[in-house]
Structure formats: C-alpha cells, structure tokens
C-alpha cells in the first residue's frame, strides 16, 4: 500500500491508529481517580508528542542514516517558529501559509549551514553545527532583536497588520490561529463517557496529520536508493568515492531534509501557541532531540517517535510529582521508610526530572545503544524463539 511493503504498511497503520486514537489511548484512567495524574490525553501534551515526534523523525534521517551527529538542530526549529509567527503578524492567522514558510525558511537556513558544516565530518561536524546554532542563539538575543524581539520573545500584538485578516477581533482581543476561518486550533471537543473524559482538539489533529505525513515520508526515504546511499555514507565513505558516488550532495540533502522537518516542527509549535523565543534554539534544545532519537533508537523508523513520546510524557509526569503526591503514594509505609523513600525520590522527580533523564540516557547509551526499539526486540526474543531465517523468502533486510 502507498508504495510500501507489508511490514512497513503495518507499521504505518499502527502509528496512524495510535495517533488518531491518542485522546482515548492516553486517557485510560477515569477523571476523578487518583491515577488521572498519569493521563496524558490533553491537547497541549498530545500536540507536543506529535511535534517533537516530527522533529525527532527528521533528526533521525540525518543522524540515524548518515551518522552525522548535529548538535545544532534546534536552530532550525527556532527559525521555523519565528517564520510562522511573522506570518501570523503580517498575513493572517491561517496556519498553512505559516507552516509552509517555516519549512522553506528552515530548509534554506539548513542549506547554508549544511553546505559549510558538511565540509568536515566526525566530531568537527558536531562542533561546527554547535557553533552555528550558538551563534544563531546569541544573535537572536542581541542584534536581531528587531526580528526576534530578544529576550521577551516574538509575540502577536493588536497593532500587527495581518493584511489578510484582522489586527484585532471585534471584542478587542488578538485573533487566534486557525486552519480555515472558524476552524480554530484551540478548539476542543470534550466527550464524557461515564467517569472518563476524552478531549479532541483541532490543533492536535493537525499535528497528528503532519506527524503521519512526516512518518510516511521517512519510511519512503529509508527504503529508497537515497536512503541506502545515506546508510552507505555512514558505513564507508571511501568506498562510496571509489564507487563513483559524490557523498557531499547526499549528506547535504539529508541535512536539508532534516532541517525542513525541524522547521515544520517549529512552525507547528508556533501554530499551536503563536509565540517564539530564542531559548528554542539553545544547544540544550538541540541536545534534547538527540536524546529523543537515541533513546528511541537511532536509525530505526519508529524509534524517534517513541523516544519523543517517552521523554515528553515523563517530563510532564515526573515534573508534576511533588511532596504531597509522594506522601500520598508512600503514606501506607512506616514513617521512617516513607521519609527515606521520599528523600531518595526527590532526586528524580519534580524540578530534578532532568537528573532522571540524564541517568536514563547514560544507561541507554551504555547498555542499549539501539534504544527502546532494541530493548523491545530483546524482550520479544525472550518470549519467542526466533524462527530460522529462510534466505529465499526474505526480502532485502530492512532497517527496522
């Protein structure tokens, strides 16, 4: 289907079902129950799952396939956000032109940075991209303030021209982003079934649609001759050159494509909440997408989506857990033990959530370089003995 083999089609369908059914799947606990705090099915968080999923899928096309580790990808996301907000300021509140511009601007920016950075490889490439991203970040805070509004961040105001829309709504507010007039991003339909509460948000479904498209395109790229060339670049550049292949345009194309994915993610972020700040471009933000990709499984199709969901989910849950929540959980224990457990838990929850993330990341890189996907495969192998491979029936070995 859609030019994919059976296995990939199944994968695509699974992702589609998960994405479209997310409001149900992520809200398994009744609203009033004490477990409701583990629900993730509210619009804001679901949007972030999808958006960072797109970001990580794009990053994986570069890092997972070619092995070029960029430490500056957040710059493209930031540029995408700024472009989108400018479209909202100048043109109007429709998200599609804004997202289109985000992708184009991020793509051009990636072309420029990639053209220069890809003249080097290995750690030099990482440092070049890092240097470019930090430069962009510093400039966004300083001289480029007329474009970026410096530390405050770029926001919509009542005096924006919006030539195809209105500067202010009839009741004097700032208009909201929409897909079509009247089809607003923030609109949420709630459905109560018994004690359960499900929320269906327009913005989320737009993000989910883009996520599916992004995922589908990445599957096609992975299975294409282009994808094969990118994996060959990672494996042996020398052999590439002596096989008549020019590696530079291949890596540059991968870099630009992944930059455009980042731009799309940035545009979507701004479409959900029309503001953009320089902190989105900081190198810690670049580090985050690296974490997502590695955690899920670099070079795999589904890994980056899993990694992004995992990190965003636990970021949200862990950072919500505070003392009273902990006391609620461990209250049944004797006081001394309760306090000891809470003392230890402190390191890992609430504001210290990044500590958990850092530890997890070290463990994954050390013991599970293939990320969650490899972990899943190992567990799967424990349960069923691997059937003997029949070389005749097997297709070309696909990257999982």
């Amino acid at each position: 289907m859609l030019g994919l083999n059976t296995k990939d089609t199944t994968l695509l369908i699974v992702v589609a079902v998960l994405a479209l059914g997310a409001p149900f799947i992520l809200n398994p606990f009744p609203e009033a129950s004490s477990l409701a705090q583990f629900n993730a099915g509210y619009p804001d968080l679901m949007q972030r799952f999808a958006i960072f999923g797109i970001f990580a899928i794009g990053f994986n096309i570069l890092f997972g396939l070619t092995g070029y580790l960029s430490f500056g990808h957040a710059a493209f996301l930031g540029v995408g956000s700024y472009s989108a907000v400018w479209m909202f300021k100048l043109l109007g509140m429709n998200v599609l032109p804004a997202i289109a511009l985000s992708i184009i601007v991020a793509g051009l920016f990636a072309l420029l940075i990639g053209y220069i950075s890809l003249r080097r490889s290995g750690i030099y490439f990482s440092i070049l991209t890092l240097a470019f991203a930090q430069m962009s970040f510093n400039l966004a805070y300083s001289v480029l303030t007329p474009i970026t509004n410096g530390e405050t961040g770029l926001q919509l105001t009542l005096s924006d021209p919006r030539i195809f829309g209105q500067s202010a709504t009839s009741d004097g507010g700032i208009p909201v982003t929409n897909l079509l007039p009247g089809f607003e991003m923030r609109e949420t339909f709630t459905w109560e079934i018994g004690p359960w509460l499900f929320q269906f948000n327009t913005g989320y479904y737009l993000c989910a649609a883009f996520l599916l498209l992004a995922f589908y395109l990445s599957v096609r790229i992975f299975r294409s001759p282009f994808g094969l060339m990118l994996r060959a670049v990672k494996s042996n550049q020398q052999r590439m050159h002596y096989t008549g292949l020019n590696t530079r345009p291949y890596t540059l194309a991968a870099f630009v494509i992944s930059g455009m994915y980042a731009g799309l993610a940035g545009g979507l972020l701004a479409s959900m909440d029309p503001l953009a700040g320089a902190e989105r471009m900081q190198w810690t933000a670049s580090g985050e997408v690296v974490l997502m990709t590695i955690l899920g499984g670099a070079g795999t199709l589904i890994g980056p989506v899993l990694g992004a969901g995992f990190i965003k989910y636990f970021e949200n849950i862990f950072s919500k857990i505070n003392d009273s929540v902990l006391h609620g959980w461990f209250g049944f224990m004797p006081d001394g033990m309760e306090n000891a457990i809470i003392f230890v838990s402190h390191f890992f929850v609430g504001k210290s959530w990044h500590l958990t993330l850092g530890l997890l990341f070290m463990l994954v890189v050390t013991f599970l370089p293939g990320g969650l996907v490899e972990g899943g495969q190992r567990i799967g192998r424990l349960f069923r003995r691997k059937p003997a491979k029949d070389p005749k029936s097997a297709d070309m070995k696909p990257a999982e």
Partner: protein, 343 residues
C-alpha cells in the same frame, strides 16, 4: 594604546579559564581518544568545591547574648562560626576569608577521586566505541552532575569572595606611564592568570621531565605502538584522567570569585572550550593553551564599544566565527598535527 592593553588584560582571565579547560580536554582526547562532554561539569564541580569549603568554614553555633537585644527587645541570637572559637576570632576570620585558596587543598584530592571514578566507572567502557557514543554518554553524565549540583545548591549563583588582600584593583596604567585609573585590573584576576600560568607550566613540566609524562606524550603521538610496548597503559590512562579532572577543578575553584558559581557554568564553558580545542588543533597541548588565550583576548576586544558600533553583535559570535573560519581553512587547527582526527 591604553584601551588595547586594557582589553588584552581583560581577556586574560577568561582566556586562562578556556586554556585550562581546553588543556584537560586535550589531554583526555590526546591520550585516551575520548571526547569528554562532561569536562565542563568538572570545572563547575571545582567552583562548587570553593562554595562548599566556604560554607563549611562558616558553620556556626548559636548563642544567646543577653547583653544585646534585637528591635523587639528579645535577647539577640548570635552566630559564631566554629573556626572562630577554635582559632580565636581573628585567625578564624582570616581562615574564612581565605576559603577559596584553602579550597584548593581539598579540591585536588576530590577532583582526582572524581576523575578516577569517572574513568574506571564509565569512560573506560567507551574507548572502543564511536566518538558519537562518547559524546552522548558524557553529555548524559554532564546533565546528571549539573542536576545534582542544582539539587543541593539551588539554581542561583552563589557569591564566593576572594581574600580581602586581593579585593580592589591594581593600577597598571601608572606602571606603564599612563594616567592613573586608565588601566586598572582587579588583583584577583591577576592572581588567576598567574595561577593558570603556574598550572599550565606544571602540566608541561610534568609531561616533559617525568617518565610518566614521556609515556603519555608517546601515547599521544602513537597510541597503538605504546600499547604494543607492553606498558601498562590502562593505569596511566586513569591517572591521566584524574590529572585532567584536577586541572579543570582547580580552574573552577579559582574562578569562583570572578564569576559566582552556578550550576550551568560548566556547560557554558564547555561549548566554548571545545571551540578552543578545535581552533588550537585537536590533540595539541600548546595549541589548546595558545587558542584559549587568543580567543579570550579576541572576545574581550570584540566587546569594545568602538568595535560593537561598527559590527553590532560581534562580541556574541566572534569565537564561533573564528572557529568556523579555522575549521574550514585549516582543519588541523593552529597547531594540530597531521592525521589527528583530520577529515
């Protein structure tokens, strides 16, 4: 002329910090072949050693002084640091005042221990892994260390004072025949520069004149051959890592009075130090030191108003810009050897 001298001086202290961190990075990279993204965290831990020693020395007991009352008329609670009661108020006060230099004594064993633990516990498993994996795992470690510090010390910068003798500034201008108060330079920064020079000199002397240093230098030139000679390179690697950690830590301890320590200072310096290493030439110790000072001074020149008015924002990007130009035109860096990660 005076402005130029002033900027060179201003660049020296930051340049010293860059040079010291870059020196450690290069030592680790050159001998162990490991790209250590947690090196900035070691610098930060050093700075927090100074904070901790200062806090410990300030530990106090409370007494109620009936002769004094607060504004409500209650007897006043007076805090007396233990060191005051042990060494007498005067000696005690100066001990507290000298907490940063005292911290050096504690920082050396602590940093070496941290270095050993890091190398034995984590880094050694990554010698044969790709550079990307090394970057990633040390990046994770840097996050962990940074968050631990944040957990215990909070997110705000903590002021850590230099001894009183070094407060105030030295009037360089008068020395060079300029008017007074034209070129003034804080004493502590002068101390920092001298300290950095001593450490750098010591590291070079150690590498130049000891058998251990000879093996290390040989290892940097050709790791495989040295391994083949049957020299127990593993143990030397561990010691090397401890040494590099100590250099970063000491750089951090002494930097505390210049810039109040905060939990993200390590990351801030790390990014720049990597740039310094690349500019100096991956694997070249003199290159790291030279590039550290050069970039520090360059950064301080770029922040002159005269230059900023011509090229707005240049002070924000100058280091990165230089790094990009160097990497593209001279991939080996200023003093890099042929064949070290050259591609």
């Amino acid at each position: 002329m005076d402005a130029i001298i002033l900027q060179i001086l201003n660049g020296l202290d930051k340049g010293s910090a860059y040079a010291l961190i870059a020196l450690g990075l290069t030592l680790i990279f050159g001998t162990l072949g490991v790209v250590n993204f947690a090196h900035g965290a070691l610098f930060m831990i050093g700075a927090f050693c100074a904070v901790t020693v200062q806090r410990i020395l300030n530990l106090s007991y409370e007494t109620i002084d009936p002769s004094q009352t607060d504004f409500l008329g209650n007897p006043l609670v007076v805090k007396t640091p233990y060191v005051h009661s042990w060494f007498g108020p005067e000696t005690g006060a100066s001990i507290i005042e000298w907490s940063v230099p005292i911290a050096i004594i504690f920082a050396i064993p602590i940093m070496i221990a941290i270095g050993f633990i890091m190398e034995r516990g984590l880094i050694k498993h990554f010698y044969k892994r790709p550079h990307a994996d090394q970057i990633l795992v040390t990046f994770g470690l840097a996050i962990v260390l940074q968050e631990l510090i944040k957990y215990f010390y909070g997110a705000n910068p903590i002021q850590t004072g230099a001894p009183d003798v070094f407060r105030g500034s030295f009037d360089f201008g008068v020395l060079l025949g300029f008017d007074p108060n034209v070129i003034i330079y804080p004493y502590w920064r002068l101390v920092y520069f001298a300290f950095a020079a001593v450490i750098i000199g010591a590291v070079f002397a150690f590498l130049q004149f000891t058998t251990f240093g000879m093996v290390v230098r040989a290892g940097m030139a050709d790791r495989e051959t040295v391994g083949l000679l049957g020299i127990n390179i593993d143990k030397k690697f561990t010691i090397m890592f401890g040494l590099a950690a100590a250099v970063a830590g000491l750089a951090g301890v002494m930097y505390a009075p210049i810039n109040s320590p905060n939990y993200h200072m390590g990351m801030d310096f790390l990014v720049l130090s990597f740039v310094v290493v690349v500019v100096g030439g991956m694997g070249s110790l003199p290159g790291a030191v030279l590039a550290g000072f050069l970039l520090g001074i360059l950064e301080s020149f770029a922040s002159m108003n005269e230059i900023k008015s011509i090229l707005p924002g240049i002070d924000q990007i100058i280091i990165y810009l230089v790094a990009i130009i160097i990497l593209l035109t001279r991939p080996r860096g200023l003093m890099g050897r042929k064949g070290v990660m050259e591609d």
